[in-house]
């Protein structure tokens, strides 16, 4: 049966990237603002960009492996 393998998602090593993304976003945003509210808002934007970058990179690698 071809089902969606949730087990493989929850045990994927990519989850190790999440704490790093959160830390990088918060520290980077905190070097741009003094106010905590502004820091958190900016951190969300930075995290979105990092995730987008990783997704694009993943897509490129996936395509390259497809045509290998």
């Amino acid at each position: 049966m071809l089902g969606f393998e949730w087990e493989r998602i929850w045990t994927n090593d990519l989850w190790f990237a999440v704490p790093l993304i959160v830390a990088m976003s918060l520290v980077y945003a905190a070097t741009r603002h003094e106010d905590l509210g502004a820091i958190f808002r900016h951190a969300v934007r930075v995290a979105r960009w990092i995730v987008l970058f990783l997704v694009v990179l993943w897509g490129l690698l996936f395509l390259m492996s497809w045509f290998q």
Binding site: D13, F16, P19, L20, V22, A23, M24, L26, V27, Y28, A30, T31, R32, H33, E34, D35, L36, G37, A38, I39, H42
Partner: protein, 209 residues
């Protein structure tokens, strides 16, 4: 005679990209603040009275550093094995050049290195942050107990050795940003919404006229 009066970041930084009122940030002695930030993440900001940012920096950076130390270790091989100093033939640990910016938390690695250089057993009777053995043999008969060789560490810790290395390197590099923030205050952020804000203000004025 050097000016001992407390310094503030100049030019005044903006509190928020949405609130354009400049706010003065007391940096006190920026060099001392930067040095304290180098000792421990957030300590420089605590000295400057920027308590919220001090807590944010300390919690964020120390969390990923401690996670890395935990990931790259076990009760069998010892903890924090990804953080060590080694500039020996066959094991140039350049990763430490990124990790060292965390400050005092990597001090055990430096002490272990100095102790190891004099040919002693690892400090405190444990291989915590101790440099691994160097062995030219793939299966060294001596490699049965800590501190082990790099080969054995990678074999026993699997990918967690590299994951711990990345976590601790990121902690060090992020603290570099914190040191600069303690020294000079936040980078002046020119939001992309500035022109939108001005356009909206212009529109409001035109409507009022």
């Amino acid at each position: 005679m050097p000016d001992s009066s407390p310094q503030t970041s100049t030019p005044p930084v903006k509190k928020d990209e949405q609130a354009f009122e400049p706010v003065e940030i007391p940096l006190r002695d920026p060099w001392l603040a930067a040095f304290l930030a180098l000792l421990l993440p957030g300590l420089g900001h605590y000295y400057q009275g920027r308590l919220k940012k001090a807590v944010l920096y300390f919690v964020t950076i120390m969390t990923i550093f401690c996670t890395g130390v935990y990931l790259a270790g076990s009760s069998e091989v010892g903890w924090g094995r990804c953080v060590y100093v080694s500039f020996r033939m066959g094991d140039q640990r350049l990763h430490f050049l990124c990790q060292m910016w965390v400050g005092l938390p990597v001090l055990p690695a430096v002490l272990q290195y100095l102790h190891d250089s004099s040919g002693h057993q690892p400090l405190w009777g444990s291989s915590f942050m101790a440099p691994p053995l160097i062995s030219a043999e793939p299966r060294d008969p001596q490699d049965l107990a800590p501190p082990f060789t790099v080969h054995t560490l990678n074999k026993r810790l699997h990918r967690y050795f590299d994951l711990g290395t990345v976590y601790t390197m990121m902690a060090g590099l992020l603290n570099l940003l914190v040191i600069f923030d303690a020294f000079a205050g936040p980078v002046i952020f020119e939001s992309g919404s500035t022109s939108e804000e001005e356009a909206r203000r212009g529109g409001d004025e035109a409507a009022a006229a």
